[in-house]
């Protein structure tokens, strides 16, 4: 269960969030839509606790922004799968190791690591690029590595920040159905996007955000 309650948060320079309420139940799929600069990425940062609210609170499963200790944050993040808007690949290792890293930090056995990593890469259609370095990939390929890394550990909640911005429509549809499949297996998904078209044709719940406020 994920819950953001009456959140306010201000960056040092004055921008920020100004009243965010959002709930994602276990296994639910929710879109977070809003124009550029509305605060979508900021909401996700609060969920994975890179930022902390000035008012209100964030609940992620058993962790609360009000009393989580620094030491617990890595364990919180291991329950999440995060597709970053700017990918954030590890530039010092190849595609395989980028994806495998999430498993390595948990101390998984190397046979499991190999199996799971290869499966995740297969699901985003990048098996043949597993030994390339991130800088040798096209924009869309990098984005799919970021996606593979987010889903490899079958997270409790998947946070996807504009996961199809660098993909052509056909690949985008494939990725979306991949997220659907994951969701069907029980992973809750919160996807930030400004792809209104995508959202218009969906039956899923939509939360709108504008100027740092969620609307109902």
């Amino acid at each position: 269960m994920l819950k953001l309650h009456n959140l306010k948060m201000r960056y040092p320079n004055g921008d920020g969030l100004d009243g965010v309420n959002l709930e994602v139940r276990n296994g639910e799929f929710v879109y977070l839509v809003g124009p550029t600069g509305a605060g979508k990425t900021s909401v996700l940062k609060l969920i994975y606790m890179e930022e902390f609210p000035d008012e209100g609170y964030v609940l992620v499963d058993e962790y609360s922004s009000q009393d989580i200790r620094d030491k617990e944050i890595p364990y919180l993040r291991r329950k999440l799968g995060i597709i970053f808007q700017d990918f954030k690949l590890l530039e010092d290792r190849d595609v395989f190791e980028n994806v495998a890293f999430v498993l390595r930090v948990t101390g998984a056995r190397s046979r499991d690591i190999k199996k799971k990593t290869l499966r995740a890469l297969g699901e985003v259609g990048l098996s043949h690029k597993s030994r390339k370095m991130p800088e040798e990939l096209s924009g869309g390929e990098q984005q799919r590595v970021a996606i593979a890394r987010a889903i490899v550990n079958e997270p409790f909640i998947l946070l996807a920040d504009e996961p199809t911005g660098n993909l052509d429509p056909k690949t985008a549809v494939e990725i979306l159905s991949l997220l659907d499949k994951l969701n069907a297996r029980g992973t809750a998904v919160l996807m930030a996007t400004h792809n209104y078209e995508l959202v218009n044709n969906t039956s899923k719940r939509i939360v709108s955000i504008k100027n740092g406020r969620t609307l109902n």
Binding site: Y75, R77, I82, L90, E91, D92, T106, S110
Partner: protein
């Protein structure tokens, strides 16, 4: 967390940032070479000072009227004096022999002609280590001249030589000390700076690792390993370098001062320590 992976990350880091690693290792090596040379200088400066100071002694000339009992009393009294290590009695006969030795028995017959021995007997007074200084010698000089039957003019020592020597020795020790401190501190600063720069250059990567669930321990351990391995390598290199250098010097300069082999062990260990302390300082501050 798998130990194997952490080790691999550490050594992988070494392989990856090969040139940075080389410079870090070189920094440790250079620092340790300087520290090693500093140690060798210190040890040998000590020996040199001892050598120069061992030449310091006071000579006390004795009146011919002193009899054996008197001389024995004086010997006991001087031996008990503050600062006196030991003393040798040079009898009138020994003085003649030394004199003749000095002038190579050319004038063998002078003293025979003279019919008696004009040279006085004397004590040669050696000082304790810490009294082999201008002021220490002065203290002993004072005690000796305060003795009954011994006049100031009967005591001879190379006061001027001692004063100049002293000046240079103090200078050398002061410099040695300052250089030692600077070298040690700068070694630490440089090593820690190197790890810091490695951390900064990996800043984004480390940020990302944290965002995908890596613990601090997971991120730090490879850096420690890297620092320690580089430190150890630097230590080995510095030991090899100094060893070769001293061997070459010994060939060039026969009788060149030899060096205790334990210094090489010390350097290797200091390397590990430096590597660890450097990574620790940088990691504490920047992670």
């Amino acid at each position: 967390m798998s130990l194997f992976f952490v080790l691999r990350e550490g050594f992988g880091g070494l392989r990856h940032s090969r040139f940075s690693g080389f410079v870090a290792t070189a920094t440790v090596a250079i620092s340790l070479i300087l520290i090693g040379i500093f140690l060798i200088i210190t040890v040998n400066l000590g020996k040199f000072v001892q050598f120069l100071r061992s030449r310091v002694e006071l000579e006390v000339f004795l009146d011919d009227s002193f009899d054996e009992i008197k001389i024995q009393d004086l010997t006991d009294e001087i031996k008990r004096m503050e600062g006196v290590a030991n003393l040798t009695f040079i009898s009138k006969e020994m003085a003649i022999r030394e004199f003749q030795n000095l002038f190579k028995d050319k004038q063998e017959d002078y003293f025979e002609t003279l019919g008696y021995n004009p040279l006085p007997a004397s004590f040669r007074v050696k000082l304790q280590d810490n009294y082999r200084t201008a002021s220490g010698a002065e203290v002993v000089f004072k005690s000796l001249s305060s003795l009954e039957d011994i006049r100031e003019e009967d005591i001879v020592y190379t006061r001027e030589y001692l004063v100049i020597l002293e000046k240079y020795i103090k200078f050398a020790i002061a410099i040695d000390f300052i250089v030692g401190i600077i070298v040690c501190l700068s070694a630490l600063l440089l090593v820690s700076n190197n790890i810091r720069l490695i951390i900064l250059s990996k800043n984004k990567i480390i940020e990302t690792m944290k965002l995908v669930g890596a613990t601090n321990f997971f991120i730090r351990t490879p850096l420690f390993i890297q620092g320690i391995v580089q430190g150890f390598l630097g230590g080995i290199i510095s030991a090899l370098f100094l060893y070769t250098l001293l061997k070459l010097a010994a060939i060039e300069i026969p009788g060149f001062i030899s060096v205790d082999w334990r210094i090489y062990l010390l350097l290797a260990n200091l390397g590990i320590l430096l590597g660890f302390a450097g990574s620790f300082a940088a990691v504490r501050r920047y992670l």
